[in-house]
Amino acid sequence: MGRVAGMATVACLLGVGPLVAQQEGHPGKPVYDRWCAGCHGVDGQGQGPAAAYMLPRPRDFTQALYQIRTTASGSIPTDADIRKIIDEGMPGTAMPGWEEALSSAERDALVDYLKTFSRYFETDEPRVLEFGGAPGVSDELLEAGREAYQTLECFKCHGQAGRGDGASAPTQADADDFPVRPADLTQPWLFSGGASVEEIYRRFLTGLDGTPMPSYADVLEAGVVTEEQLWGLAHYVRALGGDAPRVREVVAAARVEDVLPTAADDAAWEDAERFWIPLAGQIIEEPRWFAPAVTGVWVQALHDGRELALRVSWNDRSESPDPEWAGWRDQVNAIMAPGAGEQAGGEASDGMAVWFPPPDARDRPYFLMGSERAPVRVWHWDSRSGAVERLGRGLGNLESLPADEGALQGQAEFDQGRWSVLLRRPLLDGDSAAATLIPAGQPVPMAFMVWDGDNAEAGTRGAVSSWYYVQLTEPTPPTVYALPVLAVLLTAALGLLVVRRAQRRVRTPAAAPAAA
């Protein structure tokens, strides 16, 4: 304590302390204290009351260390840089955008107020970098980018497939020694500094201060890469992932005439439609989980009238338990679940569950794995013990089912930071046609949960979805296409007939006076 306090004193002396005198009566202070201090703290040190529930932690403004800038590594940001983050927020973190919530004047005042937390804004000038404009994308440029990804060894942290699972990923820490993950480049919509090619390119040169992501400005200056190659890399990185997936409520399970796939890497899945289901930390049941590793799952569904096959895929940086990630797991456990001990980490296996109302359900059960009164059918897959069907009576309250109903099959693949799990089961419960788990033609509620064991996730600590739906679809019979055509033709013929008859009547002399 003495040491820390001593250092704080010194820190003030040397110019990193807040300018208390400037803060009194500052127009940004009431805005900051009301909207920002909850996370960033009244003193700007990033230790507000809510900070303990966040990983990554809120920014400590007293260091004048900003991730997203247009300035050189270690330089203070420009006012516009700070304003941009306030306006747009930081995707993938707890920082929201304030463009809608606060007036422009309030946000300007905030920018100025944030600067009072560090003397560096008095003594330093931002060293703004030149970026130039993005060249249009071409195959050659993308190829140059692919090569640059290798020569600049981006894969060491971000992984060969870009899923943030590189060899150095497990030991990364931020400026305050909190564990931090290399970005999953296949989910650009979660890039904290924006997903445009220009924003990606900028970060190559600025680095992300306070994180392990370094600046490549020296590398460019030394001629190790050309500007064009770096732009190629920006295009290549952007192309590793698409735009934010559209979230659709109903997962359509197409009917296949051939046999259903029996493996997660079956070629049949390549043509099956993918549905993105976002996940969030489970923060309803104790113990809560505020640091989920998995952001969402891709779901594909196929059926053949007798069985339903689901393929659920998600990005996970490790196949837990991975000894390389043991240190990460312990850190996350200690930071996000202090006092939970090792037990909370469980077996440190990865897991996924999807659940549906049972065949006899009248109402939609509680979305968190049902309740005592209204249970759900849980298809539970574990990377160690495989897939099993259970009766869920609430989160973590799973009962085994009679053996004859345990007809669930599971098969899983882990490849370069991604799990793909196939789950397959007959639509009928036992022999009774009356007890159909997924009746054809109607949307059936379905919800998901995923656990990353190496992120200290198990039990109630994981990422969950709300209710979504799965609906078995039948291939459209040819009559659906033929009937409208027939109807159109018939109508046309009838119309023609009517017109003809009318015209004939007009031409008849006897009818002419009557018409006049």
Partner: protein, 296 residues
Amino acid sequence: MLNLTRNTRTLAVLFTCTALAACGGGDEAADAGADDTGADAQPQVVADAGSITGSIDFTGTPPTPEPIDMSAEPDCAAKHDGTPTQRAVVVNNGKLANVFVRISQGVQGGGGAPSGSAAVDQDGCVYDPHVVGVQTGQEVEFQNSDGLLHNIKASPANNRPFNISQPTTMTSRQTFNSPEVMIPVVCDVHGWMNMYIGVVDHPYFDTSGQDGSFTIANVAPGTYTVETWHEVYGVQSQQVTVEPNGTAELTFAYDAGMAATAVVPLGDPIDPHGVHASPGAGVSHPAAHATAAGSR
């Protein structure tokens, strides 16, 4: 009780900050002083200059050096004979290496600035040297001899940080504008790579070698406080008087038991004697005035 103590300290911190803000006039003088000893300055002839030499003794059993698993980088592993080990504690024949030694009090005016830059190599996925001293404004030249991706991330408390990438054989130069003992430097690609840089606003410093010896040359006659810093065993200081053209001898004694209680400050200056007694001890430290100029 704890809260009361904390509040008192916070008040002390606030008071100090306010006091310092109120007397910002000292900045320019400090700047001028810094220019005198800047890297561009020519070595000055010091009349009747003497020197301070000595050694860092170590008693007790040093910890077994921690092995580094370099299997992820076979090219680096191949550069080492046997298993590479961490360099936090290097003891040879009872002498402690990698101790940063500097005059902390008593330097008057300028002195001979070292010409050129301080070199740090990344060779075999370790930093060489492990501890290095530079003057404010003097270049540190980071060389990547491995030809594979390193990043060099410096996390100072009183200088601006940097984090630069070196994906191949290349050299990068950085400078620090404010004195700071010590600045940690790490490579995030290789979690085991770390080193320390000591930044001083005069040329009177050295790092103990493999034999535990150090030499501070070209010192004007006078009485000085010499301070040592070690990343595990903490700081010590002694007074020494340099006679005209004389050589003052100093011996610092470290022992293995010190690891348990050592205070290892990062971020200059902390009074090694005052740190336990009072959180405000740093205030009285003369170096604080020189560094109040901040980094420009």
